[in-house]
Symmetry: C2
Subunit: 230 residues, 2 copies
DNA sequence: ACCTGAACACCGTTCAAGT
DNA sequence: ACCTGAACACCGTTCAAGT
């Protein structure tokens, strides 16, 4: 009975809030946040479901804790460089975190909407980001504008509408190529141009990393122009 | 028995996919998407839960249908103007839709992630948006870049991290002002500057609409500069 | 053939009973 | 005082029994 042995081995390490959160993050990474349940976390820890409630008040508080775990993985701002390099590196670090934890952007968004204040780690992230802008000579008003301009990109999130699905089954109820071309001519034109331009890139034929940095740089250059003018 | 009469009156109008979707959208508008269940929709329609499955295959397909209902509310692109005005007006129309249906951005995002293709209405929205760029003289490559730059803003979504909560109870476990100031000095500085600057604005002291248009215009000007250069 | 009640396999969380 | 099994009030969906 390997399962019982595993459970015994696990229960030798005492349960802690950190262990609960780490397990929850690992399960969400594997199976997505929809498949994450208190019962399943308990099972993975070899523990009865109610034992979790000693370390987290309820599921919402668990999700808040998970947010703080992953936001804590984002690199702090680099010192000794100009503001633009520091912001750029940090946002790219946040993006890497979100690629590691695909569920995080959605959870951060929905939990932030439900709370009055972002979670502590998100607050700390924003605060040090503002600090970089301020140290770079931005007026407080311009920082305010800048945060709005960055929007969700501040957390490295970019909404990919045509991302390839892992596994890549053709999906039975997807529209046929001819129908796509007839109904959505502009999308088709664009998709073909992209496929032709970037033959070497695997997957969707679109270099997401390049596009992300292109968008990021355009925004940063615009902000820098405003900064120089003030 | 008013309830029974209501149910009878409702069931006189035959159930249809449109009526199911409209009811679901209305319930989500009122109570949020978390409180939306097949059982609750059925109850609102005075119908047994299983009756819904004649008109929608399952809950995911219901959510897809709801997306198409609300995206269909976005104005089509205005004709007879320059590309920038047309894009601007359309994005502002999408933003108004999302303010009417606060659950929509999250559902669009999560459902798009789960499907291989965006829902038909989202495809149509994107297609006509691309059409506006193309008619405005954008090369296909530049349109491709532009879509990435707009990102989620293309659907009018902007992530507001410090939105005031309706009802405005002080929230017992929110950090005290002194603690906020000590731990997050830059956020506090910014919040105070904003509050001082815009005394007249009700609520958070931050004019969301102005900020949204500021960000939008910065992005559009950047794109226009690239367009003129090519 | 159509409709639907009961049932199944879940879920988060309460609570009282056991140690 | 601590821990936990059973129970409660849900959920989406299957399926067989009723019309």
């Amino acid at each position: 009975m390997a399962t019982q042995a595993d459970a015994a081995a696990r229960s030798r390490t005492p349960l802690s809030r950190q262990r609960v959160l780490d397990t929850a993050v690992a399960l969400a990474d594997e199976g997505g946040v929809d498949a994450l349940s208190m019962r399943r976390i308990a099972q993975a820890l070899g523990v009865v479901p109610m034992a979790l409630y000693k370390h987290v008040a309820n599921k919402d508080e668990l999700l808040d804790g998970m947010i703080d775990v992953v936001v804590g993985e984002v690199d702090p701002p680099a010192g000794g460089t100009d503001w633009k390099t520091a912001v750029r590196q940090r946002i790219l670090s946040a993006r890497r975190m979100l690629l590691r934890h695909p569920w995080a952007a959605g959870v951060i968004e929905s939990r932030t909407k439900a709370r009055t204040t972002p979670t502590p780690a998100v607050l700390a992230y924003l605060d040090s980001m503002i600090g970089v802008f301020r140290a770079g000579g931005f007026s407080i008003d311009l920082v305010h504008h800048a945060l709005h301009v960055m929007g969700s990109r501040l957390l490295g999130f970019s909404q990919e509408l045509f991302e390839d699905r892992p596994g890549g089954e053709p999906d039975p109820d997807a529209p046929a190529p001819e129908e796509m071309a007839a109904r959505y001519p502009h999308i088709t034109e664009l998709a073909m141009a992209v496929a032709h331009d970037r033959d070497s890139v695997v997957g969707s034929g679109c270099d997401d990393q390049f596009e992300f940095e292109f968008a990021l740089d355009l925004t940063l250059d615009g902000l820098d122009r405003l900064r120089a003018r003030s």
